[in-house]
């Protein structure tokens, strides 16, 4: 097994773990971590592609590396936003769950009359 194949398989495994965690875990924080694991898998895959695409005598294809950095920044900001919302949710209610008190179809549209 050569390097790119090994890294590609690792990337696939990471994406699989992350996807499982994101879908199955009920706690939002674990979902956020699941998202980050998928992200790591995607970035690893992209790095592998950059290495494999370097057939023309260069050390690596530079385009994926540039895109990768952007992708990491975006994923980081997404995580920061999600964690900020999570903290706010904890401050407001003291519990962190995605399940509403009412069922989703009957969720409150507006606050009760003031």
């Amino acid at each position: 097994m050569n390097g790119p194949t090994l890294f590609g398989l690792c990337a696939a495994a990471l994406i699989g773990f992350g996807l499982y965690g994101l879908i199955v875990n009920p706690q939002p924080l674990r979902k956020i971590i699941g998202f980050n694991i998928i992200g790591s898998g995607v970035f690893l895959l992209f790095g592998t592609i950059a290495r494999r695409g370097a057939a023309a005598g260069m050390g690596g294809d530079p385009v994926p590396q540039a895109l990768l950095i952007t992708g990491i920044v975006v994923a980081f900001s997404a995580t920061a936003l999600a964690v900020a919302l999570l903290l706010r949710l904890f401050d407001e209610g003291g519990v962190v769950t995605l399940v509403s008190e009412a069922s989703p179809t009957e969720a409150k549209a507006d606050p009760p009359d003031a």
Binding site: I15, L22, P28, K31, I32, F35, I38, G39, V42, L45, F46, I49, R52, G53, V63, P64, L67, T70, G71, V74, A75, S77, A78, L81, A82, L85, L86, R88, L89, E92, G93, T97, L98, S100, P104, T105, A107, K108, A109, D110, P111, D113
Partner: protein, 510 residues
């Protein structure tokens, strides 16, 4: 890398306008952020006016040249560089979104104006900045020429839209925002994975180059499936719609109008772009039928659940779930046309018109619901008495927007459904036509219920809780009228939407 797209690789006259269309909203946002407080609203409104003028100039450049408007960033050619392209599809979406954003801006002056004497409030400042951010991101989605820029644009759109859900900061809306963000993140990471796979095989993310290189093979199918399912989660197509109703119904009215009318169109437009421009040679009729079936389920489930709602805003939010279903009916119809060797433009135009008329009608409906809430202090559908005499313009706007959603002539919804149904009949897919008619019938029931309830006379001695400014009602009515009169687009002598499409429309490789 050799490629022969010489006509695609030069900056056309008016190309700089595309850069401005993206930059001006973001510059406005930053200026508003620096000045803060009450000035943010004035900065935002000025930016809206400038942005609208730029979008009109882009449309003029497109019609005059008869070809796509292109800007090559920094003079670097694709595949190494990045191009901005606005073809007919982009320009009609740019125009429609600009009109709706301006309508929402006028409406929101009353809800999010900073009262004199108050230094700075969080919600108004956030609303105006995010309104501009949503607009800039949407413009970027419409004009981006490569899949990675589109990924960044989608993420910007999500980051701008999520805080709009929780503007009032109640734990219920924060929870809706978090749920929305998690769905959106799953969607975008799947989209990115698909884009990475495409780059790995074809060595480019530029849309025209990719369209030339992509071949029907397993990796292209995998990439298509990943990207489209990611976008479905972001667009809230059934069965991934669960985040939408609480998020859209819990936000303030103007923010709901942005979320429901505009934000979901971004990821939907990207799905259209992928399906018809990038993967035109890869998509098959059965895969399109799958999307159509999900759309059909969305229409039935969304409409039936909307009928059961007791709150007006939730009713409108579930109506959005149903209308998203219509947007995905264009996929089997257009693919059916092109696989029969016919021009798919009828179905594509129908789908685009549906998106535009829904954007206007839904924004008008949410804002009408906001005015009703302000006047009554609640939005229970069962108790809307007195609304017609108190807010005649608003109820008229609600009825006109409803007529467009139902598809009554001469509304935009009517023309859209007409085009889609004629495509369905041409390709012998009569079941989609039947479904559209049933959906229209269900829609008419809940629009009718709301209008009839609001016709009932008010109790004696009832007073509006808060008066509503007349210009807010006028803004809502204007948007509803735009949607209602959009059917006049049939008189347009030029098929604007099909100008400069990079991929020929009636070729589907075997």
């Amino acid at each position: 890398m050799p490629h022969s797209l010489s006509a695609q690789d030069v900056t056309t006259p008016g190309g700089l306008l595309l850069v401005l269309a993206i930059l001006i909203p973001f510059i406005g946002m930053l200026i508003g952020f620096v000045f803060g407080g009450g000035k943010a609203m004035r900065v935002a409104l000025a930016t809206l006016a400038v942005g609208l003028a730029i979008v009109i100039a882009i449309a003029k450049a497109l019609v005059q040249s008869g070809d796509a408007v292109i800007y090559i960033l920094g003079g670097w050619m694709p595949p190494l560089g990045v191009a901005l392209r606005a073809d007919g599809l982009s320009v009609v979406m740019l125009l429609a979104i600009a009109v709706v954003i301006c309508g929402i801006g006028v409406y929101a002056r009353a809800d999010f104006g900073s009262p004199s004497g108050v230094k700075e409030a969080r919600a108004p400042l956030t609303f105006w900045l995010l309104l501009l951010a949503v607009w800039g991101s949407l413009n970027l989605v419409f004009v981006s020429g490569d899949l990675f820029t589109l990924y960044v644009a989608l993420e910007l759109l999500t980051f701008a839209a999520v805080p709009l859900v929780s503007l009032d900061g109640r734990s219920e809306t924060v929870r809706s925002a978090l749920r929305y963000l998690l769905y959106a993140l799953l969607g975008s990471v799947l989209y990115l994975l698909g884009a990475v796979l495409l780059y790995g095989v074809y060595g480019t993310l530029d849309i025209p180059l990719l369209a030339m290189r992509v071949r029907p093979e397993p990796v292209a199918w995998a990439a298509l499936a990943l990207m489209i399912s990611g976008l479905l989660a972001k667009t809230a197509l059934f069965p991934l719609h669960l985040w939408l109703p609480p998020a859209h119904a819990g936000a303030p009215a103007a923010a709901s109008a942005v979320l429901s009318g505009l934000v979901i169109k971004g990821s939907w437009f990207l799905a259209v772009r992928l399906w018809f421009d990038v993967f035109a040679g890869v998509v098959t009729l059965p895969s399109a039928q799958t999307l159509g079936t999900l759309g059909a389920a969305a229409i039935l489930v969304g409409n039936v659940v909307a009928l059961r709602q007791t709150r007006l805003k939730l009713l409108i939010a579930y109506s959005t779930v149903a209308q998203i279903g219509y947007l995905f009916l264009m996929f089997p119809l257009a693919t059916g046309l092109s696989s029969a060797g016919l021009d798919s433009a009828v179905a594509v135009n129908g789908g685009m018109l549906q998106a535009i008329s829904h954007a206007m009608a839904k924004a008008a409906m949410f804002m009408a619901a906001g005015l009703i809430y302000t006047t009554l202090g609640h939005d229970r559908v069962a108790d809307l008495r007195g609304m017609t005499s108190t807010l005649p313009m608003t109820v008229l706007a609600f009825a006109l927007a409803g007529a467009s959603l139902i598809g009554l002539p001469p509304s935009g919804g009517f023309l859209a459904k007409w085009l889609l149904i004629s495509a369905a009949i041409t390709t012998l897919q009569w079941w989609w036509a039947l479904l559209m008619l049933v959906g229209g019938l269900l829609t008419s029931v809940y629009v009718f219920i709301v209008v009839v309830r609001s016709l009932a006379p008010a109790h004696d001695g009832w007073k509006p809780k808060l008066p509503v400014p007349r210009y807010q009602q006028a803004a809502v009515l204007a948007l509803a009228l735009c949607s209602f009169l959009l059917g006049a687009a049939v008189l347009c002598p030029l098929d604007v939407m099909q100008i400069g499409r990079t991929v020929s429309r009636n070729t589907l490789l075997p």
